[in-house]
């Protein structure tokens, strides 16, 4: 497969992963806030805004194409590290605060909205930077610019659309929100790990190696903890 086709495929996967994480986030918050007519537009707008601003980070990456690859990997690992623990933590915090309200009459539920906004903005920024870095990498190849640019956006939009559909019609209905998020992040981690290991890991910066390690540990730990998480939430809420 020619290099730009690899890139197109990876770009499509990355776009799908970003969109899938966004829709999982919105689903989780629509459960938490009980008002999807507010939640979906609000978090969609925030996510898109952060995504757009995140693309600015990839305007001038240092280190040429290698630097761009590092940026892609960095944002991929960061996104994976944020997504599962972030969404699980939001669900857990929601149930805990409801429990506090029920038993001790302490109303701290208002804390979840700012936490949700921060999580959404962080994820949007991270995934936006990653897509922009992909775009930069695609355009730096020695191919007709317009054609590659078009392929990039086609694969980006196709991937995003597919990611949303996969979560809404397969992951969420079949495995539920908690396992659906975890499964999607595990798949994304697999693809990112392969990309990391093929990109001469010894040459990569120390921070990226740490992120690689943390992301793998986090997903492994989440895979082990999923049943405890579900049982815990069940115990508190019957979710």
């Amino acid at each position: 497969m020619p290099p730009h086709k690899h890139l197109t495929f990876l770009n499509s996967c990355a776009a799908g992963h970003g969109a899938l994480t966004y829709i999982a986030l919105a689903t989780a918050f629509s459960y938490i806030f009980s008002d999807p007519v507010f939640v979906f537009p609000f978090f969609t707008g925030l996510y898109l805004a952060a995504w757009g601003l995140g693309t600015l980070r990839a305007e001038k990456p240092a280190g040429g194409p290698e630097g761009t690859v590092t940026l892609i990997l960095f944002n991929s690992f960061a996104g994976i590290l944020l997504a599962t623990p972030g969404i699980w933590a939001a669900l857990l915090a929601n149930e805990t605060l409801r429990y506090l309200l029920r038993t001790r009459h302490q109303d701290l539920l208002f804390l979840i909205l700012p936490a949700g906004i921060i999580l959404t903005v962080c994820l949007g920024g991270v995934f936006g930077a990653r897509q922009a870095a992909f775009s930069r990498l695609t355009n730096s190849k020695k191919n007709p610019e317009a054609s590659l640019h078009a392929t990039f956006w086609e694969s980006d939009h196709f991937g995003a659309s597919a990611g949303i559909m996969i979560f809404a019609f397969i992951f969420n209905p079949l495995w539920g929100l908690i396992r659906g998020i975890l499964l999607s992040q595990a798949i994304a981690l697999g693809v990112t790990d392969i990309a990391f290991l093929r990109s001469f890991p010894k040459k990569q910066p120390f921070v990226l190696k740490i992120l690689f390690l943390l992301a793998n540990l986090c997903v492994l730990a989440s895979l082990g903890a999923q049943n405890f998480m579900i049982t815990g939430l069940d115990a508190m809420s019957g979710f």
Partner: protein
């Protein structure tokens, strides 16, 4: 200074265009997704599907197979104006089109409205993608590339954030769907004008264009002025056909749009004064709508409707110890009207999330007549709070708890919470030892879900019973309810009493219509599987056996 010179000189074209080219389609996406999610009551599917279609078609629209032709700097492509014009019209007809199709096909699961909404999302996505394709390369890959690219990115990102904030906090709460769509399409039209005025000298404009633009300005102004009339006509046509009706009350809050109509039973226009109508209420019907969905359609003189009577009468009659009642929802006062008719009721607590219905019910003379001033009864205690929060906070015990969630909107999440073990456990905590919980058909998203809910109730330590009132001809039709008891013994005792003491008292005809049955079959899985969208999908097909609820009928002759 001429407008276009100003626009170009102070370098506002790119950022302003990027802002509006993002702002309007984003708002259209929110509008279509919100409206369809209200129609289907399945937000967890509708939003993702609409968003996915929208994104896919943006991608298809922005695809370019060949390199763009070089264009002179600051020239507004004519195609861009046409594309924005197309977006303006697609946005303008988004809510109007969905509503017209929706109300024309109320009985056919609203599939056409869904297909139309998705087609619109696809069209808007495609046009938007095309518009970006026309706008982006010539403007941004030529001169001042990096700086302009950055400003475009910043302003389009800002547009997303501002669109979501304005939509959720200003447009939708203040104006509802239809007027918001008008407002956004008007902003889009102003953008078309902006493009038109900032075009290059090299693009001559003939008289046809000028007249066309003037006509469109007039069109938008006229529609804006008549928007109330258009909205009313669509809704009246849906629920009353060609029967003339008069709008007697209207309110718009962040979560509800309330419309109240009065119409004559004989089909003639309502020309009488308020006094004359109230003097002869038997001649009129009253229609209440919440977010375009039917709240009630009742004769003005009625003292009780079968749906609400069936919510209270069997329990209040057979369990005279029921004194403390909790009604979660029921802001229209019809549940309270029924409850206050029983002298045994000592305290009736109504918890309503929104003040709108209660205010109208208290202030509107027709609704005061319809509800027999139930909210003025000293036994009725009104609280404005999210019922789910109320259940979390309250510690009092009630003998009868009615869960009467409003129709339309966010129904899947109400269902999710109603189905959750915790909600049912919280209800059980508030229930007195011999008390009864009744979950109405408004809260049950569909009768098919009743078996799942019954199973969840069993897990929560409650004992379920399925109640149904099939409805007489010309009445409101089917009413389903899930009745939950503290113990198996109290359920068995209620069924015995119902058979021996209550059924013989029912009027002729009602005996075959009002039934109770123990659910003897349920889905093997509990609450979390109710989240599965496949249930909804399957329920649309004619094969419903997997979800069929079999009840052991205790009430048939």
């Amino acid at each position: 200074m001429r407008f276009k010179t100003l626009a170009h000189n102070i370098r506002i074209f790119n950022p302003a265009a990027a802002f509006l080219m993002t702002f309007c389609p984003t708002c259209y996406l929110f509008l279509i997704a919100s409206r369809l999610s209200r129609v289907f009551g399945e937000d967890l599917f509708v939003y993702p599907v609409v968003a996915a279609v929208f994104i896919l078609f943006i991608g298809l629209g922005s695809a370019r197979r060949s390199a763009p032709a070089p264009e002179p700097e600051h020239r507004t492509p004519k195609k861009l104006i046409w594309l924005q014009m197309g977006l303006t019209f697609a946005g303008f007809f988004s809510i109007l089109g969905i509503d017209i199709i929706l109300f024309d096909s109320l009985a056919v699961i609203n599939l056409e409205a869904g297909v139309f909404g998705l087609a619109l999302a696809a069209a808007i996505g495609f046009l938007s993608g095309r518009a970006w394709r026309e706008f982006y390369p010539p403007r941004l890959s030529s001169t001042d590339g990096a700086r302009d690219r950055a400003s475009v990115k910043i302003f389009s990102s800002l547009a997303c954030a501002i669109a979501s904030l304005l939509y959720t906090s200003v447009f939708f709460p203040a104006m509802g769907f239809f007027k918001t769509s008008l407002m956004i399409s008007f902003i889009n039209f102003l953008f078309v004008l902006f493009l038109f005025l900032s075009r290059n000298e090299a693009q001559p404009v003939d008289r046809l264009w000028r007249w066309g633009i003037a006509a469109l300005v007039g069109f938008f102004l006229a529609v804006s002025l008549w928007s109330d009339k258009i909205e009313n006509t669509v809704l009246q046509r849906a629920y009353l056909g060609h029967r003339p009706a008069t709008l007697i009350a209207k309110d718009q809050t962040p979560s509800q749009q309330i419309l109240l109509y009065i119409t004559r039973k004989d089909g003639w226009p309502v020309l009488e004064t308020e006094k004359e109508i109230l003097a002869r209420p038997s001649k009129y019907f009253i229609l209440g709508l919440t977010n375009g969905a039917l709240q009630f359609f009742l004769p003005l003189e009625s003292r009780g409707d079968p749906g609400h009577a069936f919510l209270f009468d069997p329990y209040m009659t057979l369990r005279p110890y029921i004194k403390d009642l909790l009604i979660l929802g029921g802001g229209d006062g019809l549940a309270a009207r029924q409850a206050v008719q029983y002298k045994s009721a000592k305290e009736i607590t109504v918890v309503e999330p929104d003040q709108a219905w209660v205010t109208i019910t208290r202030e509107n003379p027709y609704l005061r007549e319809l509800t027999r001033r139930a909210f003025d009864d000293p036994r009725v205690k009104l609280h404005f709070m999210n019922p789910f929060e109320w259940v979390l906070r309250d510690n009092k015990h009630y003998d009868l708890i009615i869960v009467d969630a409003p129709p339309g909107g966010t129904r899947n999440l109400i269902k999710t919470k109603t189905l959750s073990l915790q909600f049912l456990r919280d209800l059980k905590r508030l229930l007195s030892k011999h008390g009864v919980i009744v979950i109405t058909s408004n809260t049950l998203s569909s009768p098919l879900k009743m078996s799942v809910q019954a199973r969840t109730a069993l897990d929560a330590g409650l004992f379920p019973l399925a109640g149904s009132y099939r409805g007489k001809e010309e009445s409101l039709g089917e009413t389903e309810q899930l009745v939950l008891f503290h113990s198996e013994k109290s359920r068995a005792s209620f069924l015995e009493d119902y058979k021996e003491k209550y059924r013989p008292r029912l009027e002729y005809g009602w005996k075959d219509l009002a039934k109770f049955g123990i659910i003897s079959y349920s889905l093997p899985n509990t609450a979390d599987h109710s989240l599965s969208g496949y249930d909804t999908l399957i329920s649309k097909f004619p094969i419903k056996t997997r979800l069929k609820m079999i009840t052991e009928d205790y009430a048939s002759p």
